[in-house]
């Protein structure tokens, strides 16, 4: 087991380096072809050559390799790796430390993801289990129809409809019913409120989670159906165990492996969803910050955040792999 984890971690570090290098190559080519982004620092103002040079130097864009198309600029890459290793992730165009920005934004994204994950798992496990247990029944068909409907609605449609049609009357109704200082009005606030980060993130999180839950419902249903028909479930029943014991220890437990894998895979996808959700709901999170950074040509910030997101994804993958090995002993001894 220890060796398995070590191997996975080494693989992950390699993957991360590769991602960073590719990212570096892409930005380098973009700079070489489009010209120096130092201009972005000045917005619409025209900067003097001296001012430009100073900015270039500050953001590490003064290396002559950026003027030579096709040069991979390994020097600046190594330099940046060195800075990252020392915990220095650079600043954005306004001189704010990227690490400070991340420290402020990441918790909100994490909150969002908590809600998303809980939504996925509750909907997936509950509806999927019910569908598997009562396969072929009206309930099963109803759940299938629901999951198809969920799939048919893109996240942003769901969010826009919620924000501009549903949220305002709901918010007003909640204020009138529960009073302005109670929790419910915050749940339905159409935009993020940094003073109530949990309350205002719940509904967007549920909506984002809802969008991904259809896949989970189907996955849990299929996995459990397969388990129900498995010979080992029959063996468990032959022991005279209570049905609930059989379902928990032999059906749900055995079908948990694909579900955990799917959590990992869908996680990467949800990062994209988070960008849209945070953008639309004004949540100050990683997605929102990235969205802004790209629009402002803020190369330093984009690089820092994308690197961080890549690192998070890689870590999630490791966690999933390890969970997979813990859940399915057949993996461990390969």
């Amino acid at each position: 087991m220890g060796r398995y984890v070590t191997r996975r971690v080494l693989q992950a570090v390699g993957t991360l380096l590769l991602v960073m290098f590719l990212l570096h190559l892409l930005t380098t080519v973009a700079i070489q072809l489009n010209g120096n982004p130092a201009q972005a620092f000045f917005g619409d103002k025209v900067a003097s050559p001296a001012q430009l040079a100073a900015v270039e130097q500050r953001f590490g864009l003064d290396d002559p390799c950026f003027d030579r198309v096709g040069d991979p600029c390994l020097g600046p890459f190594a330099e940046r790796l060195g800075q990252y290793a020392r915990g220095d992730f650079g600043t954005n165009l306004r001189g704010r430390e990227v690490s400070d920005i991340v420290a402020a934004a990441a918790p909100n994204t994490l909150r969002l993801f908590c809600v998303v994950l809980i939504t996925w798992l509750t909907l997936g496990m509950v509806l999927g289990s019910v569908a598997a247990r009562r396969r072929g029944s009206a309930g099963d068909h109803g759940i299938r129809l629901t999951s198809v409907l969920i799939d048919a609605f893109p996240v942003f449609v769901l969010l826009i409809v919620y924000r501009y049609v549903v949220a305002v009357p709901l918010h007003r109704w909640a204020e009138e019913t529960f009073g302005e200082d109670s929790w419910p009005p915050y749940w339905f606030k159409p935009s993020f409120d940094p003073d109530h980060p949990w309350a205002t993130v719940v509904v967007p999180g549920i909506l984002l989670g809802l969008a991904g839950s259809a896949a989970f419902i189907r996955l849990v249903r299929a996995g459990q159906l397969e388990s129900y028909q498995g010979d080992h479930v029959r063996t468990a029943r032959s022991k005279g165990l209570a049905e609930r014991h059989v379902v928990v220890h032999h059906v749900v437990r055995n079908s948990s492996v694909p579900v955990v894998t799917a959590v990992g895979l869908t996680f990467a996808e949800a990062l994209g969803g988070a960008v849209i959700t945070e953008g639309l709901m004004n949540i100050y999170g990683m997605g929102g910050v990235l969205w802004e950074a790209v629009r402002n040509d803020d190369v330093g910030l984009v690089l820092g955040i994308v690197t961080l997101l890549a690192a998070v994804t890689v870590v999630v993958m490791i966690v999933v792999d390890v969970a997979y090995a813990v859940l399915d002993p057949r993996i461990r001894y390969e």
């Binding site: 028909q229 498995g230 010979d231 080992h232 029959r234 063996t235 468990a236 029943r237 032959s238 022991k239 005279g240 165990l241 209570a242 049905e243 014991h245 220890h249 032999h250 437990r253 055995n254 492996v257 859940l327 399915d328 002993p329 057949r330 001894y333």
Partner: protein, 399 residues
């Protein structure tokens, strides 16, 4: 190696045999496990299929009943019905399953499984699939003991080791934490047997416990089963498609064909003189049954079938006797009329007081029985020398 049998039932004379039908017995004491006229149906796309039709058998403490038949004859389905484990789409349409006199089929599914969990255990056909890949064998061995008998974790751990020791898995202490895929086929089957023994059942149903194993391992596992059965005086229902397996271990045999019983007899009678052409054909497919005796057959038995044709699908049973398309004795009567299972067969009296009256479902049962020393020559296959004499066949081979 004949494991004996202190005779779990009262004395039963052959005179009474004629009065008994389909395993029904007038014995004052209820048999340990008795199946009466069991029928199981599957609902399929092509309509209702009767996979088991009128199966009856009984097992008593300390005795072994072999249920023999080709693939698809309904052996597994009938055992699942006994255990209350039929899959979706299958139902018992007729019959009784009496465990010490109590009809399990009248109980709720919950109670049925409860009873079986306590008293009837099953060793499933495919051990790799029947064991849960994600739990340790230790967990699976004592799961029921912990959940149903409230054993503590410590006691359960100790019991798991004992159980593995009992089925002679080497290094039991070190292996309880292993998972099923880490065991070889033979060891896995032993683990399966140990799981079945965990609740100390009165009856063990072993569904082809050795089919997936290679020949030497087969013999070991069979011997183990027989020893444990004798030691605990369990009733054992040994399911197999291989009559050669039966000889050394079983007391009685029930031969199934296309969901029905075609012959039922004490094992030695069957080997001495089969009363049904199908049984006779099965016997011929054991290479050395005629010469080396049943035990000699065990060690080197290639799986071959000399019965021409294939067993019919229960969805499309031939009219009359289901065996007639493959039977060399088939006449017009066989094609039109189904032979009933009749017990009015005279057999030579033998010393072994058996609870099993002979029965055969063949219009020409008497002829088949009478001609029992002819077929060896008629089979057309070169045979080793030696008279096909029942007494010789029965000679115990464990010196």
């Amino acid at each position: 190696m004949r494991v004996r049998k202190a005779g779990g039932t009262g004395p039963e004379g052959t005179g009474r045999a004629a009065a008994e039908r389909d395993g029904r017995t007038a014995s004052s004491r209820a048999p340990l496990l008795e199946v009466r006229d069991l029928a199981v149906e599957f609902r399929t796309a092509e309509g209702t299929v009767r996979a088991v039709d009128g199966l009856s058998y009984r097992v008593d403490a300390g005795r072994t009943l072999a249920v023999v038949g080709e693939s698809g004859s309904g052996k597994s389905v009938s055992s699942l019905a006994v255990m209350g484990l039929l899959p979706d789409g299958a139902r018992v349409s007729r019959g009784q399953v009496l465990l010490a006199g109590e009809d399990l089929l009248t109980l709720s599914r919950r109670e049925h499984r409860d009873r079986c969990g306590d008293r009837v255990a099953m060793v499933f056909q495919d051990a790799l699939a029947a064991l849960n890949p994600v739990h340790t064998v230790g967990y699976q061995l004592t799961e029921a003991l912990r959940a149903r008998r409230g054993l503590s974790r410590r006691d359960a751990a100790r019991r798991a080791v004992e159980l593995l020791d009992l089925v002679r898995v080497p290094n039991a202490r070190g292996r309880v934490k292993d998972h099923p895929h880490q065991f070889s086929g033979g060891m896995r089957q032993r683990v399966m047997i140990a799981i079945a023994l965990a609740m100390d059942p009165d009856v063990l149903i072993a569904d082809e416990p050795t089919t997936a194993l290679d020949v030497t391992v087969q013999a070991q596992v069979l011997r183990l089963l027989a020893e444990i059965q004798a030691e605990r005086r369990m009733g054992l229902v040994l399911i197999t498609h291989d009559l050669g397996v039966v000889a050394g271990v079983a007391d009685d045999v029930t031969v199934m064909y296309a969901g029905r019983v075609v012959e039922r007899a004490p094992v030695r009678d069957t080997f001495r003189a089969p009363a049904h052409p199908y049984t006779r054909a099965l016997l011929r497919s054991i290479p050395s049954a005629a010469s080396g005796g049943p035990q000699g057959a065990d060690a080197r038995r290639p799986r071959l079938s000399v019965i021409p044709g294939r067993p019919p699908s229960p969805a499309a049973l031939p009219a009359g006797c289901a065996f007639h398309p493959r039977c060399d004795l088939a006449g017009d009567l066989c094609r039109s009329e189904r032979p009933p299972l009749t017990t009015a067969l005279t057999t030579q009296p033998h010393d072994d007081a058996s609870s099993y009256p002979r029965a055969s479902a063949c219009h020409f049962a008497a002829e088949v029985l009478a001609s029992h020393d002819v077929p060896a020559a008629a089979s057309g296959r070169p045979r080793p020398t030696g008279r096909r004499d029942a007494r010789e066949t029965e000679e115990p081979t464990d010196a």
